[in-house]
């Protein structure tokens, strides 16, 4: 009689857990593109702060990658560090520590910026990575002035697919030309927003105040 009493709730709960197991993935994947072109490479300290913040917020099962945006960015070689966080908190901490170390090393080793800026290539590469992770929420962080500069050989004027991906532009600095004519800055951001939304991006956001990084994921679903 008493044995039956213990077994019943255990079985019931096990059955409940098995039958109700949520098939949706709650993990999130973040791909951060860091612009290393020209003078923007001097902003890497800020980028590292963003990376640290992201490492602090990511949870078990989440994926994170940081890649550089240079003359041509559609390549795995441009990925500075990537990680899929484990379930063990201690292991997760070590992974995060190692990740931060890799980014720090990259920043220290970077001598000079690239001549051109291939943001589109980086975004295509990012979307491939994010889709492969199979995460429930996919985000591309672009740490750049959003001024795309391509050499004459590079082809990027074709529709891209960013379906279901949220795009957040970080620290979009104003160029000298923007200062002369602010419409250029606003026009540039509008153009990117339109391009992202046309490509199927679920959201587009610009966050310039890096003191309040929690706004990056404000209202995340």
């Amino acid at each position: 009689m008493s044995r039956r009493f213990w077994i019943i709730p255990v079985l019931a709960l096990s059955l409940f857990a098995i039958s109700c197991a949520d098939q949706r993935t709650h993990a999130q994947a973040v791909y951060m593109l860091v612009d290393t072109s020209g003078t923007y490479s001097k902003e890497l300290d800020k980028a590292q702060r963003v990376v640290s913040y992201m490492l602090g917020t990511l949870k078990a099962g989440d994926s994170f990658a940081v890649a550089r945006v240079k003359s041509r960015s559609f390549s795995e070689k441009d990925i500075i560090a990537k990680v899929s966080l484990g379930k063990d908190p201690m292991q997760m901490n070590n992974q995060k520590r190692e990740f931060a170390h890799k980014v720090g090393t990259f920043k220290a080793d970077l001598k000079k910026g690239s001549a051109y800026t291939d943001i589109t290539g980086g975004m295509i590469q990012a979307s491939e990575f994010l889709n492969e992770t199979g995460a429930g929420q996919k985000t591309i962080l672009i740490f750049s002035d959003m001024q795309e500069e391509l050499d004459y050989k590079t082809v990027r004027d074709f529709p891209i697919d960013l379906k279901g991906i949220r795009i957040i532009a970080l620290n979009v600095t104003k160029l000298t030309t923007d200062n002369v004519d602010p419409r250029r800055y606003m026009g540039r951001l509008e153009w990117w927003e339109k391009r992202a939304r046309d490509a199927g991006a679920s959201d587009w956001k610009v966050v310039n105040d890096l003191e309040h990084l929690e706004r990056i994921f404000k209202g995340r679903g």
């Binding site: 009493f5 109700c20 949520d22 709650h26 602090g56 995060k96 520590r97």
Partner: protein, 492 residues
């Protein structure tokens, strides 16, 4: 609106047209009066009668439910009072077994002591020494008148000296005798004290017996009232059930607070065990469910422990013999102990995880120096120790939930039953109220109809008053109103 416009004869003279329409309509309405009254009556009764029926049914149901609640309440009360009486009788039995079974010995002891006191008391009785024979001779000599004879004076002097000696001797003997008697009395003291103690003990035992007897009387009186199904007993039981329900609810709420703290204590380390990224339903993480299962399991084990110890009677464990019951106690206690140990381990793990997280965040923010400075502080161990203590004690504290839970279930039956009766009655009242309102609106509509066709009605009344039927109609009744009031009567 279109029809109304079509009926207007002179569109430029609206008032006149309406007046004409009114005068045309009044005879028609008068002719249709009986039928219209019947129609209105039927329509409103179609609404009010079912409502009234439903109201009556609800009141009957409430009464039936109240009776049932009363039966359950009295049955429960009878059971409780019986248990109390049995408990009091047990108390009296143990009192009698413990104290009164030594009373023959105590009585013998008391009798012995009293006899001894009597004997000793008799011994110490004062016996005056008998007057010596020569005192008569002294008395005779004392009658001799002084004559100045030297021989006589000398003899008297010798006698006086002898008497003084004898007196001193007698006084000394008397004092010695008194001293002995005082010593005897002094030796009585322990016996008196012993008797006093024994009598006080008897008095105390008898007072305890009297109190128990009074309690039994009280319970028996309550039992009689319950048996007689008196209103007083019902009110008393309902009131005590309500108080018990509120107290139990409070205790359960406090326990739920403890369970909540326990949950957050083990949730995080559980994430490390079952995986923090696993989800069960919606946003409920697997670790949440795992932590909840542990807490529920602890509560369940506590429930079994209390049940097998006999503190609660939620499960029918009467068919278990004492041996099985003891086994159940040990098994549930062991599982509870193991779970408490697991919680202690999880508390340690939680502390480690949090420390590692803090260290990582400080490292990422470049604050390793701060970490090193604080790491040596003994104060950092306090939360860890507190978590461990909480982890160990909370499962056992949760075990006691079984007691208020049992009371909550038993008293909840009474409280919810009473609330249900109250709700049904309120609903019944509301229905009756609406029914009456609909009925009155129906009557009012009939009167309004009559008010519109007042002119033909006045004429009718005048004609009727003048005619031979005047005598046959009851005073003050017009045909229409009488019909309406007749129609307006409710079937219920």
């Amino acid at each position: 609106m279109e029809i109304l416009h079509a009926l207007i004869v002179w569109p430029d003279q609206l008032l006149l047209s309406l007046l004409l329409l009114f005068f045309i309509a009044v005879p028609i309405l008068y002719g249709a009066r009986q039928a219209m009254h019947s129609l209105l009556h039927a329509m409103f009764r179609a609404v009010s009668n079912p409502l009234r029926l439903m109201s009556r049914w609800l009141f009957k149901s409430a009464d039936a439910l109240r009776e049932r609640n009363k039966l359950v309440l009295l049955s429960r009360g009878r059971e409780e009072v019986s248990l109390n009486i049995v408990k009091e009788f047990d108390r009296v039995t143990s009192l009698v077994e413990r104290d009164l079974h030594g009373y023959p010995a105590l009585q013998r002891k008391l009798m012995d002591e009293i006899t001894r006191i009597e004997e000793e008391f008799q011994k110490c009785g004062e016996v005056p020494p008998p007057p010596p024979e020569w005192t008569k001779a002294v008395a005779a000599i004392a009658k001799i008148k002084p004559s100045g004879d030297g021989l006589v004076e000398r003899i008297l002097e010798d006698i006086s000296n002898s008497i003084d000696d004898v007196y001193d001797k007698v006084v000394a003997e008397y004092r010695e005798s008194s001293k002995q008697r005082h010593n005897i009395l002094k030796n009585f003291m322990p016996f008196w004290r012993s008797v006093d103690r024994s009598l006080k003990r008897v008095d105390k035992d008898l007072t305890g017996m009297q109190q128990s007897a009074a309690k039994i009387d009280e319970q028996v009186e309550k039992f009689k009232q319950i048996h007689a199904k008196s209103e007083n007993a019902e009110h008393s039981l309902t009131s005590s059930s309500t108080i018990l329900f509120v107290i139990s609810l409070l205790a359960i709420t406090i326990a739920a607070g403890g369970a909540f703290v326990n949950f957050w204590l083990i949730e995080r380390p559980m994430a490390a065990m079952v995986g923090g990224s696993e989800y069960i339903v919606g946003d409920i993480q697997a670790s949440y469910l795992a932590a909840m299962v542990i807490i529920f399991f602890e509560t369940l084990m506590g429930l079994f422990l209390m049940e097998s110890l006999g503190y609660t009677h939620l499960f029918p464990l009467n068919n278990l013999n004492n041996r099985m019951r003891r086994w159940l106690v040990w098994i549930s206690f062991s599982i509870l102990l193991i779970l408490a140990g697991v919680e202690v381990a999880l508390a340690v793990m939680r502390d480690l995880i949090i420390s590692a997280d803090i260290a990582l965040k400080q490292e990422l923010a470049g604050g390793s120096a701060v970490t090193a400075a604080v790491a040596n502080s003994w104060a950092l161990d306090i939360p860890k120790a507190a978590q461990m203590i909480l982890g160990f004690t909370l499962p056992f504290a949760l075990a006691f939930v079984a007691i208020p839970l049992e009371y909550l279930i038993h008293s909840g039956r009474t409280v919810f039953g009473a609330l249900l009766v109250l709700s049904i009655r309120a609903l019944g009242f509301a229905m009756r109220f609406i029914s009456t309102m609909v009925h009155q609106i129906g009557k009012g509509t009939g009167y309004l109809y009559d008010a519109i066709i007042f002119l033909p009605l006045i004429i009718e009344r005048a004609v009727m008053n003048r005619g031979p039927r005047q005598a046959t109609l009851p005073p003050g009744s017009s045909g229409g109103m009488a019909a309406l009031s007749k129609h307006g009567e409710h079937v219920l």
